[in-house]
Every structure is written in C-alpha cells, then in structure tokens.
C-alpha cells in the first residue's frame, strides 16, 4: 500500500479540500485525517455505517487527594509547569497545565498525589465493504498529539485490506503531529498558497520533510490570487529540485461545494478540473518505480 501525505505548513491553504478530491478521484479504499487537533475530512465524507470509537489515553495526570494533603507546599514548589495552585485552601492540579511528569507524586511526603489515566482524545474508524476511514479528535488543551496521529495511521493500516493507495490529510505546522504523520509515508504533497506567509511556512515544512528523505511534490492552490508569488514558488521548487505538480485557481464554487458537503470534483468547476491534473501527476510520481 502506497501512502500519500498532504501537508502545507500554513493553515487554510486547502489540504482537506484537495485531499477529499483526491480520495474521490482515486476511489481510495483507505484514507485518514491526521489533523487530530482540528479534523475536517469527516465533514465531506459519506458514510452510512456507525463508526467504531475508542478512547485515546495520553500521559497520566496528577490528582491531589485533599483529605490526605497536609499543605506542605512541596508539590507546588517543585512543579515546573505552574500546574498546582491553591483555591479555597485546597491544593489543586490544573488538568490542562499538568504535563504528567509525576514530580509532585514523588515529592509528596504523605502520598496524597496519584497519577491518574487521562483521556486525551477519541479515535474513530469507519469501515464498510473494504473501505476504511480513520480519524481522531484530540481533546482541547491536550498536548503532544504525535502518538494519536500514529494511532490514526495504525488504525487505518490494520483495517485496510487490499488497498493499493492510502491518502492522508495532514495537519498544519511543523510540530510533533506533522513529524508523526511523515513517518513511514511514501510521498508528501505540499499544498502551497501564493502569499508571503504561505511561502515562509512552505519553506519550513519542506525543511522538516527533507529530514525524512521522502519524495516531495508541490502544488499551488488559489494560484491566481497572486501570480508573482506563484512564480516565486515555482522558481523555489526548481532550485530545490522539488517536483512541481500543478496549480489550482481560486474558485468560489469550491466553497459552495464544500459547504454542501461535496468535493470539488463532484461538481463542474474550474478548481475541480485543475485538481484532476494535479492528481494525475501526483499519482504517477507516487507509483513511479525508482530508477537506481
């Protein structure tokens, strides 16, 4: 199974819009949404079955038993994350600030602190007639979602039987979840946007992906909003020897399609036509055998 990951660096460039079009065009039997902080792919996916949901546990978090607490203040003094405070004379741990290091548990002289399992998110799996869609939602305030991203991909891989191609909608940024999504994929498609912010972020994500040595291609969405910047991106790709796979114009019909729960290839529109070209070039590159 070849895995294609769609990333952007900057948010709002159109990863999910393009990923959903690719999934439709490929009639993909396996796909996943790794943007666990703000997943969107499920909003334009059509499933008639109930998904399987499971809890995702992150690091355990500290809880103080106020009956046993003697108010020695050792926990508060030793907490590097400002997670312990006193409210109404009671020592309490801020669930969101707690990083699960367990230093407080260690320093408490009366064993009043325990590390308690914490549900940090929820995994969801849709599976029907050999097609699978894996996604997850991180609970707000949770940190370190790299493991949840890994679980989303693992869930997809273990349920995907006979799938030749898997399409993965990635998350914005360059942090832990992006790194986790890069692990083990065969190719990355970067969706760039022709704004200075978009270019700056694109360079950072390319730098991040380069560390993995994964085949990388770039396309530009909403290219006609700034032709000059579009050219800048094309020149950059040439200099960096990255494969450029095409451009997609800004299209108000794209918004209309998405708002009606459809992909841009479900209706007649210019962005839909353009994305087909980008898709063909990307898939050719993905399945191309390396000549070594």
């Amino acid at each position: 199974m070849r895995q294609l990951l769609i990333l952007s660096g900057k948010g709002g460039t159109g990863k999910t819009t393009i990923a959903s079009a690719f999934i439709k065009l490929a009639d993909a039997r396996a796909y996943a949404d790794c943007d666990v902080d703000a997943p969107n792919l499920h909003l334009i996916s059509d499933w008639n079955v109930e998904p399987i949901k499971s809890d995702y546990y992150g690091l355990s978090k500290a809880e103080i038993n106020s009956e046993m607490c003697i108010g020695c203040d050792q926990c508060k003094q030793n907490c590097r994350f400002d997670a312990i405070s006193i409210t109404n004379d009671e020592y309490k741990v801020d669930h969101f600030a707690c990083e699960g290091c367990s230093v407080c548990e260690y320093v408490c002289p009366v064993d009043a602190i325990l590390m308690v399992p914490s549900v940090d998110g929820e995994l969801t799996l849709y599976s029907d007639s050999g097609k699978v869609f894996s996604t997850a939602q991180l609970k707000m305030g949770s940190g370190n979602s790299g493991l949840l991203v890994t679980e989303v991909k693992k869930q997809m891989r273990s349920s995907a039987v006979n799938a030749e191609l898997a399409i993965i909608d990635g998350s914005p940024g360059i942090g832990c979840p992006v790194i986790a999504s890069l692990n083990g994929v065969d190719m990355v498609l970067i969706v760039a946007e022709p704004s200075l912010s978009g270019i700056s972020d694109m360079e950072r994500i390319i730098d991040t992906a380069a560390k993995f040595g994964i085949k990388t291609a770039v396309c530009i969405n909403k290219y006609d909003t700034n032709i000059e910047n579009t050219k800048k991106i094309k020149d950059f790709c040439e200099k960096q020897e990255l494969t450029f796979v095409g451009v997609i114009p800004y299209d108000s019909n794209a918004v209309k399609a998405i708002n009606n729960g459809l992909t841009i290839v479900d209706i007649e529109c210019k962005s839909g036509t353009a994305v087909k070209e980008v898709y063909n070039k990307t898939i050719d590159l993905l399945f191309e055998e390396s000549i070594n």
Binding site: K10, S102, G173, I174, E193, S195, V255
Partner: protein, 290 residues
C-alpha cells in the same frame, strides 16, 4: 476615533488555520494609535512579514536539560525508570535525549548520588522590534522541538506589556495546550471565522475553549461572500456577539498575500479596522473587570 482602553490584552484565535487571525491582529494593531503585537504562532510566525520591524533585538529561549557527572553516576537507573517521557537511557553511561525532555527536573531530584545537574538548551527565540507605532514581538520555535509553550511564556512576560498600550496576541491555530497558554492572561478574545463548513466546525472548538476559560469573546466573520454563511448562523444560534464582518475582497487578498498592512494602504480598510477596534474597545470596557 474613540479613546482606546489602554492596557487591554486581546487574543485573536480561530480553530482553523488560514481564517485570518494574522490579518485581524496585524491590522488592529496598526489601526490603533499605539500598540504591542505579539506573535504566539511560534511554529509558523507570520506577523513580522507584515510589520517588517526594525531595531530588532533577540533573546534566546532556553529550557533546562539534565546532564550527568559520569564520576558520580553509579548506573542505578532510577532516573531512567522515573522519566515519564522516556528521555533517558543507560548503556554504560547516561544518554539524554534533549528534544524529548520536558525539563520537569524529576531526574535531578531522584538521583541518589546527586550526579545530575542542569544545562541550558536553546529551543527558540523571541525577537523584539518596532514598526511605526507598533512594538512587534515575534516568537520563533526551532524546527523539531517538542513544545512551544516556554517561548509563549517568555513572549507574554509582563515586562513585554508596556503601560498604556493595547496588546494584541496572534494565537496559533487549533485549541491544543499551546493555544491555551496564549490566551491565559487575555482580557478578551476575538474568534475569527470563515464562512465554510470546515470553518464552523473549528469555530465550535475555540468557542468551547474560551467558554471553558471564562473569557469574554466575540466573533469576526472574515471572507464573507453573498449567500448563506454557516459561521454567522452558528453565532446567531448561540447568541454570540458578531463584532464585525470583513468581506471577501480581491483587493484585501492581494494586499495580504504581499504581506502589506491593509490599514496603511487602503482608506476603506483603515475605516473598517478602526471601527472594529472601537467595537472591541467598547466590549472590553463594558465587560468590566474581565
């Protein structure tokens, strides 16, 4: 222009990327007589591209990482077993994995031989500069680091908030712990929403977040087109104050994509953002001690 509420701290956030946080934050700061702009999107900071600040001074942000004195280390492995993040390993000496370490200090405390001390490691920088009437603070996280939270803590240090100056905070997208850190001390939150199905879904997430943190807030609808606006519907259904509407406009799009500050280049947008600033100021004043 109405008098601005001095000292107010406004955080601008959105669940989804690309809705216009930086557009709104940058232009609000520029529309004010004087302001401080803080870019907390440390993974992908963009505000500095618009402000092009001058006179930049830089401060490194460090975290503490343990290091072992091999003479004192007895190889008991208590530190390795304690570390909840698996940042330590022991073969014939202690190995520390800097980027995984959360700097909790636990291993230092637990070592029975007192063989561990701490050294500083740079994870990013905070740059300070000025652009016209705006003090610009930019947080930049080095690629590969585990958490941007220490950089945000440095950015939001009270010393950086100058007296008699409004502060606007450009937050990272999403609602994870890094966003929570950015809004912790804000007096008021502006949620930026785009009129798409995805936008509303993610607006809901930050709506829950600001409600949980009991922050007063309002919504700015961006990229407004004709036709139904699911984000507007969401606000009406939930009794959320709509602070303003920014139309989808090629002129604004072009200015923005060239990293130009709209209020400086267009009278129409100077007017729009000044009005928005007045509206927000009134909201902050009316909500009393927030």
């Amino acid at each position: 222009m109405a008098a601005e509420a001095t000292d107010m701290k406004i955080a601008v956030l959105s669940g989804k990327g690309g809705t216009g946080k930086t557009l709104v934050t940058v232009n609000l700061a520029a529309a004010a007589k004087t302001a401080t702009y803080i870019d907390c999107d440390v993974e992908e900071p963009n505000g500095h591209l618009f402000f092009k600040p001058e006179g930049i001074t830089e401060e490194k942000v460090t975290v503490k990482i343990p290091m072992a004195d091999e003479e004192l280390c007895s190889g008991c492995r208590k530190c390795v077993n304690f570390c909840k993040f698996n940042a330590l390993a022991y073969t014939n000496k202690l190995i520390v994995f800097d980027e995984i370490c959360h700097s909790c200090g636990g291993c230092i405390l637990i070592c029975p031989e007192k063989a561990l001390t701490e050294k500083d490691k740079v994870i990013g920088t905070v740059q300070k500069g000025t652009s016209g009437n705006v003090s610009v603070y930019t947080g930049i996280m080095n690629v590969g680091e585990a958490s941007g939270v220490p950089i945000i803590k440095k950015l939001l240090e009270p010393e950086n908030q100058e007296a008699d100056k409004m502060t606007v905070i450009d937050c990272p997208p999403g609602s994870a712990c890094i966003v929570m850190e950015s809004i912790k001390d804000a007096d008021y939150c502006i949620l930026v929403a785009e009129p798409t199905l995805f936008g509303v879904h993610n607006l809901n997430m930050v709506y829950e977040l600001v409600t949980l943190f009991k922050k007063p807030f309002g919504v700015v609808l961006n990229k407004c087109l004709d036709g139904k606006n699911p984000a507007e519907t969401f606000c009406i259904e939930n009794n959320i104050k709509i602070l303003g509407r920014i139309p989808f406009d090629n002129e604004l799009g072009t200015l923005n994509s060239n990293a130009e500050i709209a209020v400086n280049e267009s009278e129409k947008y100077r007017e729009l953002f000044s009005v928005l600033l007045q509206t927000v100021t009134k909201e902050v004043q009316s909500c009393g001690s927030c």
